[in-house]
Assembly symmetry: C2
Homo-oligomer: 220 residues x 2
């Protein structure tokens, strides 16, 4: 079990503003669970950075895509990958331009993906449905054999990962504190707006759609 202050590897060590680094599973998992998408970097052979949906089961992060996808094919081969998840929580306004910053929560994961077996695929994909909305796995048509066959699901360990968090106000240099400029935070969060039903839908919304715009579980 990784403690909060010890990086799991040299390449996972937070370099800049190292006091913002966290390496414990609880911190990493909480940031991952607040995300519906990640950015995946790999070299194929040009270095690429692509957004894709993500979700967590246990100590692994999962992504999925069509078997034909360049990214899926490349990553399924075990190629080195780096995955980043970032939540922007605010713009930090210091009195000096130089001391401006951002409040954020990020996770950077190093390693490589492995393919989820045909046997495990339905369970791991059901977890994606549940990550999207609790109860959705049973409130949708599950994938049939052809759909499962057409989908590659890849997982990467969260062991070699680092979280980085900044969640405080501006830190001006002492000599700037008396300057006559406003200092503070302009906060941001991911807002959940009321669910929009497809035209023709009648009847009550399912619980997860009803509560969507009021629960604000994410980045709240």
């Amino acid at each position: 079990m990784q403690d909060q202050h010890t990086p799991p590897s040299e390449r996972a060590r937070v370099r800049r503003a190292a006091d913002r680094g966290h390496y414990d599973a609880a911190t990493i998992q909480a940031i991952v669970d607040d995300a519906w998408l990640c950015h995946v970097a790999f070299a194929c052979p040009d270095v690429l950075c692509l957004p894709t949906a993500c979700w967590r089961v246990g100590d692994r992060l999962y992504i999925h895509g069509s078997n034909g996808s360049r990214m899926m094919k490349h990553l399924a081969s075990g190629a080195p990958a780096c995955v980043a998840i970032t939540h922007l929580d605010g713009l930090v306004m210091a009195r000096s331009a130089f001391s401006h910053s951002m409040n954020f929560r990020s996770v950077v994961i190093h390693g490589h993906f492995t393919e989820v077996s045909d046997e495990a695929k339905p369970t791991v994909l059901a977890a994606l449905m549940e990550h999207i909305a609790q109860g959705r796995a049973k409130d949708s048509r599950p994938p049939d054999a052809n759909e499962l066959k057409a989908t590659t699901v890849l997982g990467i360990s969260l062991h070699e990962a680092a979280a980085k968090i900044r969640n405080w106000g501006p830190k001006d240099k002492d000599e700037d504190l008396a300057l006559p400029f406003w200092a503070g935070v302009l906060p941001l969060r991911q807002q959940q707006l009321p669910a929009i039903s497809e035209s023709g839908f009648e009847g009550p919304l399912p619980a997860y759609a009803q509560s969507w715009s009021v629960q604000q579980a994410h980045a709240g």
Copy 2:
């Protein structure tokens, strides 16, 4: 001038769901301008994907950091890079698990960064202040000579880039349309919450802080 439908290069061509690809500057710039951060991928030699602040001036995207930063040093050498910006606008709930999707606006940029000259640096950094909040460049202490010297500013052309947009409801297979499951969109946006002043601040908020939580210019 790139038209909407023609990729600027083979590696910039959108592969999956190619009908969602856009290559014109107006579409790319609008997505970039809605972002305060991007993810930058590079190989150093391990492939890395790191979040960092970004802003646009003309047809270039800029990032900045300490001269000592591994990322800044590596990218300043002209190493190949790929930059991604993604706004998540909603979770798209189809009747079948397989047809679930996300509404999003993304830009992926290919190329390499070049360093901004000492002469141009103050102007490019002032543009970052203005991107954070209109009027902030003049309502903060500008960087002094030492601060400018300690900061590397890098720019990358937006020419070799692709935007990808999905902004519509679920598209179920015909045979799934009558299934008794809710279908629709769970919308998301980046919300601007009321400005938080540093303790001790008295007097009226500057205009950009007053209007922050009501203007909702971003992803609105």
